[in-house]
């Protein structure tokens, strides 16, 4: 079985972003999706800190501390991009104006609940940022995660054991071994890596799956 590495996962997600889409890429792994967006397409990246039309990282030495992304890394602005304040930025999310957001996750439940902000561990300092707004705001919420933890437990679960970020919000899950659409009837497998069988995948996922027609 040919598991996808992180770059391959990012490339796979990027492939599904259509021209004209307004997209927010969460911090961490989802940020990598930007590196693989097809060059010919007009795709609009939004950053929660008030940027639309975000471009790639600047050349070394060209960083501007006033132009950063949600992960506080220096970025650039595309021709045609613009700036706005935080209330307008989160209105873009909460108001349903973004087509896609891509987030990482600790767990996703079969009905689309997302857990990605807090381990719930005693002593952990909680931090939420824009995760809860992104989870409930975009028309489609894509999650990128390995299907299993390092211990071999499935992260696609009947019900999240980690504190949830949002309920019934994830529409699709991209993993290292398969892609799932979360439908009203549960997870539907729409793609598997080469060498993977449905039976193997079912075993790894641990929740009832269906194959797409």
């Amino acid at each position: 079985m040919n598991r996808l590495n992180r770059e391959q996962m990012a490339e796979r997600v990027a492939h599904d972003v259509p021209e004209g889409a307004y997209v927010n890429l969460g911090i961490g792994l989802p940020t990598k999706v930007a590196n693989f967006l097809p060059k010919g397409r007009d795709i609009f990246l939004q950053s929660e800190n008030g940027v639309l039309g975000m471009g790639p990282a600047p050349e070394p030495g060209k960083e501007d501390p006033d132009l950063i992304n949600a992960g506080k890394q220096p970025v650039t602005l595309l021709k045609g991009g613009c700036y706005f304040h935080h209330a307008d930025s989160f209105a873009m999310m909460r108001g349903g104006h973004l087509d896609i957001c891509v987030l990482g996750a600790f767990q996703v439940s079969v009905n689309g609940d997302l857990a990605n902000w807090h381990t719930g561990a005693p002593g952990a300092i909680p931090a939420v940022g824009g995760a809860m707004d992104l989870a409930i705001g975009a028309k489609q919420v894509f999650v990128m995660m390995d299907l299993q933890t390092k211990k071999g437990e499935s992260k696609l679960v009947e019900s999240c054991t980690y504190p949830v970020t949002g309920l019934n919000c994830v529409t699709r899950v991209y993993t290292d071994v398969a892609i799932f659409d979360l439908t009203a009837d549960g997870p539907v497998v729409i793609e598997m890596v080469s060498g993977m069988t449905f039976e193997q995948l079912q075993e790894m996922a641990g929740v009832p799956l269906r194959l797409a027609d």
């Binding site: 007009d42 045609g80 991009g81 613009c82 209105a91 909460r94 973004l98």
Partner: protein, 227 residues
């Protein structure tokens, strides 16, 4: 390549359907998208709900749409004006429904819709006829009325300049309802005096980011040409 500009007013309003709710920008005639309203008149959609600050002036624009009996209901703050005789006659004849909303609540409800809020407690209108039957609540010693978002299928707005990504800037007090209506409608159609090349609008100065705009149609105006 994404290009939201369209070649004709006809194309700009082609998909407006019977029964649609349409926000129309403008305060009086400043910022009123007259060319788009005329295009809607030609297009034929009927049974419309219109959200605008006023209810038409004189015989043109919104007044003309009303006169054609294409408007089922109007949501506005200030229907009665010196030259609102078209609305006045229809209203007195019971041929158009009126939802009267204090102007600030109109703006706040439109902004709430664009921002995805479920409802807001506003102090405006408390204790008045316009809050009759509405839920109220005292919060920190002050009285508020619960008001719900105003959404629309379409927004027709008038901006000064736009580009192919739908970024807009406005001109003077013609800005008024344009930026918030653009956020509150499923599809926003902007009439602009000038379409400019992508990158011509300073990113610091864009008032309506393109994400809120679906179609842009250039309608050169004398006043813009003079500006």
């Amino acid at each position: 390549m994404i290009d939201k500009t369209v070649a004709s007013l006809e194309e700009a309003v082609a998909n407006i359907f019977d029964g649609a709710t349409i926000m129309i920008g403008g305060f009086g005639t400043a910022g009123l998208p007259n060319a788009l309203i005329d295009a809607v008149i030609d297009q034929g959609a009927k049974d419309l709900t219109i959200i605008n600050n006023n209810a038409g002036n004189g015989e043109t624009g919104l007044a003309a749409l009303l006169k054609e009996k294409r408007v089922r209901k109007i949501v506005c703050s200030f229907p009665r004006q010196a030259d609102s005789h078209v609305f006045d006659a229809l209203y007195r004849a019971g041929e158009v429904e009126l939802e009267l909303v204090p102007q600030g609540n109109l703006a706040a409800r439109i902004q709430a819709a664009g921002s995805g809020l479920g409802a807001i407690f506003t102090p405006t209108g408390f204790g008045t006829l316009l809050a009759e039957g509405k839920e109220t609540r005292k919060i920190n010693g002050r009285d508020y009325v619960l008001e719900y978002p105003l959404q629309a299928d379409f927004a027709l707005i008038n901006a000064f300049k736009g580009d192919r990504w739908g970024n807009l800037v406005y001109r003077m007090s013609a800005r008024n309802f344009g930026p918030i209506m653009a956020m509150a409608a499923k599809q926003t159609i902007a009439q602009v005096s000038e379409v400019v090349p992508l990158g011509d609008l300073d990113p610091e100065v864009v008032v309506t980011p393109g994400i809120f705009v679906q179609r842009v149609i250039e309608v050169p105006s004398r006043k813009a040409a003079a500006a």
